[in-house]
């Protein structure tokens, strides 16, 4: 029995010491002079020259303001494009640079992208790059890069992006990455393409408190560590501030009308969508004249009509005015989300 007791003491001591050592080493970086983890939410300022002037102007301006110093546009071959020096908070230099880039691209058809670099050759970065958007979707792009300086691999790192309303009660997943393992000592950059359905986006904003037209985003990052024995999940809520005042909202069972005299900065400045969902007509306009959404003509119950279409398994939206129409097929989940949002808008409006 004495021998058994000695062996058990040894096993117990080894188990305790092993666990302490295993966990402690996991949180001490190999190089103690560096941060154990480095997480960045930004993308290099490289843009397709085919993007519209408005999109390029927004991105150039945002990147240079963020950098707080002048920059020039370079081709992918590293050639500096003449006349593209952009200064922070200088709209004239931004407009001139975009014009110069467009002109250069016409003369050099092989140039498909441009990158902004400062005087030292450092590539500028942006937290969120605006991409060309169609009638119903707004596209954005960013990258989440994680450097692992810890001793063990980071496992099952997954990232999701949601659009939220300002009270956080409605969440709509707009982007998701596949779970990835980041080995110790390596940096992994996860591209995040974001597509926001304009109708859903407007409806999400309206399901909140109604005090603001700012766009709220949720960044969902999760992963495991210590060979899966421990893990963490982080949910960061970000806001893209809009100076637009809350619009006038008129909600009835057969018609939703939203009118603002100011445009929403985060939506395309030339947005003009006419859509038909079953027997419901929708128009969304965002421009110099303001922002407006008109849904229903006052004769058909909106929720009943959309619900019928959903029950029949028809998730299509017809965009445009006949004969120039385009049919967009939503997924069942997207349609259900839209229906749910409209129900919430009705509820919020006391219908």
């Amino acid at each position: 029995m004495k021998a058994f007791s000695v062996i058990m003491h040894a096993v117990y001591a080894l188990a305790i010491a092993g666990l302490i050592l295993f966990v402690a080493l996991g949180f001490i970086p190999q190089n103690t002079g560096e941060m154990p983890l480095d997480i960045k939410l930004e993308a290099e300022s490289t843009y397709e020259v085919s993007e519209s002037n408005g999109i390029l102007e927004y991105n150039f301006s945002d990147a240079v303001d963020n950098h707080e110093g002048p920059a020039d546009a370079y081709t992918e071959a590293g050639v500096k494009i003449p006349g593209t020096t952009i200064y922070p908070d200088d709209d004239a230099s931004v407009t001139a640079a975009v014009t110069a880039v467009k002109a250069y691209a016409v003369l050099h058809p092989g140039v498909t992208t441009v990158t902004l670099k400062d005087n030292d050759g450092t590539v500028l970065t942006q937290m969120m790059i605006m991409k060309e958007s169609n009638e119903i979707t707004t596209n954005m792009y960013t990258e989440i890069s994680i450097t692992n300086r810890l001793r063990y691999d980071l496992m099952d790192i997954a990232i999701g992006v949601d659009q939220l309303n300002d009270t956080g009660t409605v969440s709509y997943r707009v982007a998701e990455s596949e779970p990835t393992t980041i080995k110790t000592g390596e940096t992994c950059s996860l591209p995040v393409d974001i597509s926001i359905n304009s109708l859903n986006s407007a409806l999400i904003m309206l399901t909140g408190s109604g005090d603001t037209m700012s766009i709220y985003m949720g960044f969902d990052i999760s992963g495991n560590y210590l060979y899966g024995l421990a893990g963490a999940s982080v949910y960061a809520t970000a806001v893209f501030e809009s100076t637009t005042d809350a619009p006038d909202v008129d909600i009835a069972a057969t018609q939703i009308s939203i009118t603002s005299t100011e445009p929403i900065e985060q939506l395309p400045s030339d947005l003009n969508v006419t859509a038909t969902i079953g027997a419901i007509n929708v128009t969304i306009v965002n421009g110099p004249g303001g922002f407006s959404v008109e849904m229903g003509d006052g004769t058909v119950n909106i929720v009943d009509e959309l619900q019928d279409q959903y029950d029949e398994g028809d998730y299509t939206i017809e965009i445009g005015v006949s004969p120039d129409t385009e049919v967009i097929e939503l997924t069942q989940e997207e349609y259900a989300q839209m229906l749910d949002l409209i129900k919430q808008v009705m509820e919020a409006g006391g219908v």
Partner: protein
């Protein structure tokens, strides 16, 4: 050959000094030290002037420390009882097993589901920018490590029985003197 004793008989023999010492040490580590940590954190947050941002972390840590203290009170009593009885005493095995069993429950009462959630209000950090970070909700999950701790505690139960068996004869001899 010494005569064996029953659990009831064993429970009459113990060391008040060792029991009180263990109880006091447990009280210090379960109540006094955590209270000092809360007091230190309160001072630190106040001196940093990081009230709003740190409030979420501070509240969560404080709640966890309070759970640790309140649910740890039975551990103080059990620490007294396990140390009150000497090696080879049946009561020591009994109370060690009870103390370890309760410690497993205690672990899950302090960290429900093996998780530690923290919320941070970061709305003031980027207030001048068009892009703002409103809040960060972080959940640390260490259920796997807690399960290993449970295994270690189960190992400790087996160990306490081994200690009892190897010291039983010596204990009975001392008792018969």
């Amino acid at each position: 050959m010494t005569e064996d004793t029953t659990l009831k008989q064993d429970m009459r023999h113990g060391s008040w000094g060792k029991g009180i010492l263990a109880g006091v040490l447990s009280f210090l580590s379960i109540v006094v030290v955590p209270l000092a940590i809360i007091w230190f954190l309160q001072g630190l947050v106040a001196s940093m002037g990081a009230g709003d941002e740190m409030e979420g972390i501070f509240n969560t840590v404080t709640e966890t420390v309070w759970r640790f203290m309140i649910y740890g009170i039975p551990v103080i009593v059990l620490a007294f009882l396990t140390s009150f009885y000497v090696k080879g005493n049946k009561a020591k095995v009994l109370f060690t097993v009870i103390a370890l069993s309760y410690s497993i429950v205690w672990l899950f009462l302090v960290f429900p589901g093996g998780a530690f959630p923290v919320s941070l209000d970061t709305s003031e950090l980027f207030s001048d920018s068009e892009f703002g970070l409103e809040s960060i909700d972080l959940t640390l999950n260490f259920l796997g490590i807690m399960l290993i701790l449970v295994i270690i505690m189960l190992l400790r139960m087996v160990l306490s029985y081994a200690v009892y068996k190897s010291n039983r004869e010596k204990y009975l001899e001392k008792l018969s003197e």
